[in-house]
Amino acid sequence: MKHELITDAKLISNYINGDESALEVLIEKHKQRIYSFIYSKVYDGDVADDIFQDTFIKVIKTLKRGAYNEEGKFLPWVMRIAHNLVIDFFRKNKRMPKFDNTGEFSIFSVLSDSTLNAEKTIIKAQIETDVRRLVDELPDDQREVLLMRIYKDMSFKEISERTGVSINTALGRMRYALINMRKIIEKHNIVLTD
């Protein structure tokens, strides 16, 4: 309870000025949220512990170097570090050789590269351009809903509020947008796969 009364900013300031106990308070205060966040991504207690540890090592180093920019956003900052480390973990894991106990080891499981090569990059860009042209062919009301939903990742509730129509109308417009795009694709024999 006492911890709640001291702000993060004050604790950080105390810690930077040499009060090591302030770090303990900070960790105690935020450990559950940070750990839960990491665990919700990796679903492994040991991995979550490792990432939690790495997160705070970065926090400690940054604070001790005086590189922390205090804007009253300690927790979001730590969460962002944790988030980046979770991404690093998944990237690293992807490149790790995996043994499936079949007795055979394929060198390609180690050498495989998930990044697109030059040809695939060009094809992907071409597909995206083609799709965008198809979208531009749609009637205004349908195009508007589709752009908000797919490109801006808005919910149908947000779309209905923005466009001033009901959610059902927005859903209907999205449905017709997709139907119309399929029709155009079939009519012109457009191939969108690589």
Binding site: E20, L23, E24, I27, K31, Q32, Y35, S36, Y39, G45, A48, D49, F52, Q53, F56, I57, I60, K61, K64, R65, G66
Partner: protein, 48 residues
């Protein structure tokens, strides 16, 4: 027989918390870490 769920102990209560060892490691790491400044450079040193 009827189960009283409210009286079940919550076995996962500590599941979403880091291990005590992890926190102790961090606190000890913090105590041992010193940042030395030399001109515009900063060096991390771990004191035993």
């Amino acid at each position: 027989m009827e189960k009283i769920y409210s009286k079940q102990p919550n076995k996962n209560q500590n599941k979403f918390e880091p291990k005590v060892d992890t926190i102790n490691f961090l606190l000890n790491y913090s105590k041992s870490l010193r940042v030395l400044k030399y001109k515009h450079l900063k060096f991390d040193t771990i004191l035993n």
